[in-house]
Symmetry: C2
């Protein structure tokens, strides 16, 4: 019964696609509230071009404005050397580098192939290390590409191996558009854990096709201990209107809690934070436990029954 570590990415992967601007002070208050829930890590923002992601144009102010809790890691997404420099200047101590396993997706999303991304990672890593920042390397479309289809396991494994040779100690497999199934998830995660026992592996799942928690279960069964998730199940795929986004943090924590797996998270505090989301973003969220209550919720007997 290995314990798990939960990273919330709602403030980055969720907020970046919200149609409505979220005030900087509201972002900071949201992150500060999450900091008190026992999460292992919070993805705070993204130091990308404000033109590409206007909703996160206040990245530096948010990073500087949050109160950092001692037991929580705060990470920011950085797409290039300039992003690394901006993040370091704003006091970021941990950086998510992002690339795509699929060249089609990489070109569409980042303007470069996987090989070009890996070259860029080397330059970014040098700057990050000079600034004493920790690095995670995230591999998008590791379980399939919405343009190219299946991504061969060995293609992903070669990228993981190259990342390790760059001296990066933490890798993330991302099911960017919810294409992974449980057997595939277990197989790829087991391959990485077995062949790269010194890498820290994080799994970033989306629930686009309803398989998110089943995939998390399958990954946990083979030993994955680090999971990204977004409060309320925010995030999502611009190609699938109405489809779910990231796996929902509180639903994931609830499942592990029901299973007796330690998460370190105060689920009630997390649910309270999730209940405040609709007022912040202006719409309902896909999270289930926030609507149904925890599995141990009791209802009064109907009045007609003695």
């Amino acid at each position: 019964m290995k314990r798990v570590y939960i990273n919330d990415v709602a403030a980055r992967d969720g907020f970046q696609i919200e149609p409505r601007w979220i005030e900087t002070r509201d972002k900071i208050a949201f992150i500060d509230r999450l900091s008190a829930t026992g999460l292992a890590k919070i993805e705070v923002t993204s130091f990308t071009s404000p033109k590409a992601i206007p909703n996160l144009a206040d990245a530096a102010e948010v990073m500087r404005g949050i109160q950092r809790a001692p037991d929580v890691d705060y990470v920011v997404l950085v797409p290039n050397v300039k992003g690394v420099e901006r993040a370091l200047a704003a006091g970021a101590g941990e950086l998510n580098f992002v690339m795509s396993a699929s060249d089609s997706h990489g070109r569409a999303n980042l303007g470069m192939t996987a090989a070009e991304s890996l070259d860029r990672f080397a330059a970014m890593a040098a700057v990050a290390r000079a600034g004493n920042a920790r690095i995670n390397a995230a591999i998008s479309t590791a379980f399939g590409c919405p343009f190219a289809g299946a991504v061969p396991v060995e293609q992903v494994m070669a990228i993981v191996a190259r990342i390790e040779t760059l001296g990066i100690a933490s890798v993330m497999l991302c099911d960017t558009t919810g294409m992974a199934n449980p057997l595939q998830t277990a197989a790829l995660c087991e391959a990485v854990l077995t062949r790269h026992p010194r890498l820290q592996l994080t799994l970033h799942l989306h629930d686009t096709r309803g398989m998110g928690l089943a995939n998390a279960l399958a990954a946990w069964q083979v030993g994955v201990q680090h999971f990204d998730a977004a409060l309320g199940g925010l995030g999502g795929c611009p190609y699938a209107p109405g489809a779910s986004g990231n796996i929902c943090t509180e639903d994931l924590v609830h499942m592990f809690a029901c299973m007796g797996v330690t998460t370190g998270v105060d689920l009630d505090a997390l649910l309270a934070a999730s209940q405040a989301l609709p007022a912040l973003i202006g719409h309902d969220t896909p999270g289930q436990v926030v609507k149904a209550g925890k599995a141990d919720r009791r209802y009064p007997l109907p009045a007609a029954v003695g």
Copy 2:
């Protein structure tokens, strides 16, 4: 990679709680459409009191009106001897008996304890056998009761043993309000499969707290091959507004298909039937694959990318 058998319960567990009356001819057309998709079984209706479930007041007309496909089993729910007689008169060949593992839930929902239900099953089974009908015994709240909380495994196992002594060859464990977690699901299913190898075991899951497909995965891993599910994820819990209902048939079939597990179901035909649901019931459904498309769906590259 044991194959699975999928039973759709939307016409019963789904339609029974819809706020809007569904015309008898529409119910019949819906079931006839499902009959062509390769499902193993369809729960057609319920021979309960029309006062208790007005939406299924046309049970006999629906049962008589459908076209029965040779490879599909058609089952109806019956609460008592009178229901068995009405179902047999309408030509039903397979009957679902229903009871609750929890006395609190049994009293609230059926007006009797588990022991009283089992006594009733004996009388109902005699009438059903005289009419040459097959019998499944469904155990509600097998994974927890919304009034009483946890239901001890041995309490459920004693009920299963008693059902087998009644000469009933098929038992269903129901997670009536979505309280089950994957470890619990696997443990109880494995106990039934191991101790009662000659009973056919079906699992009836709800997705109330988002764990539905994870529970199905965990059950499949220990050898469960028969699953109830509702097209579009219809159904639900009157106590949790906004919460999901039964696990979604097409999302379940899609997950197994992605895993390479044979279901016998034509997923495209199932998805087409699901797309027709909102027009039938007057609202959107919680199903995910119908919104996002199958995992192998390809998108054109954005125009800016070569």
